[in-house]
Symmetry: C3
Subunit: 202 residues, 3 copies
């Protein structure tokens, strides 16, 4: 199991925990928590796979995804308070996760012969639609529609990755450059409370 796969699984786990915490906030029962953890963790990649026609979808080919998502439930059950307190500690892992999700999504899409513009879009979909599906299932307007969350960081890092790919093979340590860029944009967006209002001029 290579480094990329490990980071992918770690990102999935962090997303599952955040989904389980969100479900618990809403007084969902065991099944509600499981389903919300599941869609938050793999919903984005699943939608991407369905749209580009890469089925059976990704998480069906490696049971570790399901095991990790399932493991997030006892973790939240026994350690909710420390997890919530540690939530900010997730931040870095979360940012690494979306950076990697974006690039994995781009690569998978390019691998099917689709254009870089579509690949970039699918990279963003991989990162943000887990949260959108989570919010729709929770009967809330998706957070991302009103607050800059991930999408700009994904676009920035994904674009850098696509540009770099024109000149070199972006693998191994070089992957840290676009992923680092996602993290930087993400940190800036949060610390400076970036927002992207859309207020027509007329």
């Amino acid at each position: 199991m290579d480094m990329i796969h490990i980071v992918d699984l770690a990102g999935t786990f962090v997303f599952a925990i955040s989904g389980a915490l969100a479900a618990e906030d809403k007084d969902f029962d065991l099944w509600g928590v499981f389903i919300l953890a599941f869609v938050t963790a793999v919903g984005g990649g699943t939608l991407r796979d369905v749209l580009i026609g890469s089925t059976p979808v990704g998480w069906m080919k490696d049971l570790n995804y399901i095991y990790l998502i399932t493991a997030s439930l006892p973790l939240v059950y026994f350690f909710k308070k420390p997890l919530v307190r540690f939530r900010k500690g997730f931040f870095l892992f979360d940012a690494i996760g979306i950076g990697l999700f974006t690039i994995l999504g781009i690569n998978k899409t390019l691998g099917l012969g689709l254009s870089p513009v579509i690949a970039l879009l699918m990279g963003v979909v991989s990162s943000v639609f887990g949260g959108i599906i989570r919010d729709v299932l929770s009967n809330e307007i998706p957070l991302i529609f009103r607050k800059e969350i991930y999408a700009s960081a994904c676009i920035a890092g994904g674009s850098l990755y696509l540009i770099m790919s024109q000149f070199m093979a972006v693998t191994g340590i070089y992957l840290m450059i676009p992923i680092g860029f996602v993290i930087i944009i993400r940190v800036l967006a949060v610390s400076r409370q970036w927002s992207l209002p859309f207020e027509p001029r007329t």
Copy 2:
């Protein structure tokens, strides 16, 4: 047309009626009622087919599904009151339906070479996601997120089916064993008002 297919169609019909009744409760018009009956009846199997890559999805290959769903509308239109009064009478049919949906979903998934864990999950998806999509389209938090409905019975019956399959060909009359198990769990869950709260310990 074999017995399994007949029970599958009957289960679809019962689900369509329950979807149409739910839509009527919300004052939907004709199209709203049709769409809600449709997604309630075949939404779970459709999502399963899309995720495992078995497309065109199942109900496109046998028009009887569409005819039965369509037939549920005049039935609800002319016989709403007796149907609502008879709702509890649906209970057994409904339980047989989800038992069969679970096992059909498992078989279809195994048939594509996917693992038993994924197959079990897809069996549950086949049974419960019709209701989840119905609730999302009705702008409500899915009932299953807060109340034990089907999922535990599907998991229990589906697991039994998978275990039995290790030792024998589970066909014909033997199918009644896991399906009966689904019905028993379901009856117990309702009569004893089982719930699966998720209340973290810290």
Copy 3:
């Protein structure tokens, strides 16, 4: 680029503008507006493609769809007021669009060897599910569930197209007949405020 493709792109553009206007009404930010414009414009065709197994989905094969959807944002940003005032002017374009979407959806489905009943249903899905997904993402009950919008016009025009196809090759100028029928039904439905209540008799 033939006439049909141009009308398809024009319909997509009109739908994107209406999606962006709807998002702006809800105070979504830039990403919210983009995503809502996107799903309104191509959501119906995307769902159709996923259900019939025609992936990667249609808009991935011609970047003009993405470019037009993206272009709808600055248009709404700079010209919201005139656009809103001109909304009724969209009406004809919108009606031509759904007429064409219906027939393109029917053709694509028939091309995969599926039956005319399924094709007609997929024609309707192509036209109406963009709006349904838009409403679900906006956390509202889909408008079409309570108010006759498009579906009856699509069914009428699509059925006429299927009947004509039995007797002749419906291409070129002849396409104007079923599309014109969609427009007529749509105009009648709006001007006479057609409704399709579903009020059970018992």
